[in-house]
Symmetry: C2
Subunit: 228 residues, 2 copies
């Protein structure tokens, strides 16, 4: 079977990766080799590869070569960020995004409460206390929370949503006393975990997201915050 030409170039390149059983980080054929393999011009090859790069399926290193990617959700950040920035429906989309994170985190926090080790609790507490100074601590906190669940997709989704939210967060207006709220909420979560109380942890998580959504609602109430 030579190659049905019905499939798009993109699909044929992906098929090629699977046929050869190439693992992430493996080198892909050269652009010139792909030209010959697929019987097209370098231009078409490059466009297809660029599309695959945008999806995280391949990784391009200038001067070095093209490699199979990890299809990490990180690559998809621009798509989600775009959706959330879209004028009118943007705030709505942002709220949807936070609600999904709430669903994931309140769903998982129960099992986390039953299985978190003492050293991990200490690390979580340290992060919760450092949030005033370092905003990244918030991201690390949520990542560490679900690190033990063994679900890579959840970790990446939560990280993705965090990134997208904080990318547009400045446009939501002044933070008010939010930074204080955040630390309090996170300390409450840690306390519930320390008590190994799943229901209390879930409730603490709900409170946290209630505050986040309240901030979004305040932003929605105010007039269009002026475009860049």
């Amino acid at each position: 079977m030579p190659t049905r030409d019905g499939a798009s170039l993109q699909e044929r390149i992906v098929a090629l990766i699977h046929e050869r059983g190439l693992a992430p980080e493996s080198p892909m054929p050269t652009e010139v080799q792909l030209m010959e393999l697929l019987g097209t011009s370098r231009n078409s090859v490059r466009e297809a590869v660029r599309a695959l790069q945008a999806l995280g399926i391949v990784e391009i290193r200038h001067g070095h070569g093209t490699f199979v990617g990890h299809a990490s959700l990180e690559a998809l950040t621009p798509s989600f960020a775009f959706r959330v920035r879209s004028g009118a429906g943007g705030i709505r989309a942002l709220n949807d995004l936070v609600e999904v994170r709430e669903l994931l985190e309140t769903g998982l926090i129960g099992q986390v409460a039953q299985s978190t080790s003492a050293p991990r609790l200490a690390a979580l507490e340290a992060l919760a206390n450092g949030m005033d100074r370092d905003r990244e601590a918030d991201r690390a906190f949520h990542a560490l929370l679900y690190d033990s669940c063994g679900n890579e997709l959840v970790l990446q989704l939560i990280g993705l949503f965090w990134d997208v939210y904080h990318e547009v967060e400045p446009t939501l207006g002044p933070p008010e006393e939010r930074t204080a709220e955040i630390a309090v909420n996170h300390r409450r979560i840690v306390a519930a975990l320390r008590a190994r109380d799943p229901e209390a942890a879930r409730e603490a998580m709900r409170l946290h997201f209630r505050d986040v959504k309240a901030r979004i609602a305040r932003a929605e109430a105010r007039p269009e915050p002026a475009r860049t």
Copy 2:
């Protein structure tokens, strides 16, 4: 401020969409216009636009023009499908994906149980009964379930995960009596909704996903199912 050249072409095009306040479906500048606006060659413009198309940020219609896209998650299907097809970790990734769907659906089904109208229930039941004949009925069932939640992102995520799962489902081996199981599980869910019993609905949903995950586990146990 003319345009800082530090940003990638992609980012500059996205910025241009936001600056002009272009809504989805609006026509984008022509490739030639973008060349002039961004001061690059048509080749570079096309590559950047192709990347944005892969992310669903723009939509290209041959012979007609380029338009602002909806950044629908549908465009991201190839990325998720790739991740799930990746040889060794593929089954693991598929399981992660189903678990995320479980988190979302069990988290939402409670509020659905309290708010689903009679006609909607009838429609759900019809779909549940039609699953033996039409596999799409399953997809429609889950979409209709959460349609009333007002969260577009959840709908798209569940649809995306459904698509990805069913794209690789054939490789999981023979379906056994699964089709029967599916209908039973879904009828149980409808019954719980009809009784307006959130906890029963959640439990029925858990059972459904228990079966799905069991199928994945059986596939993981068997040897590599031979590549295409």
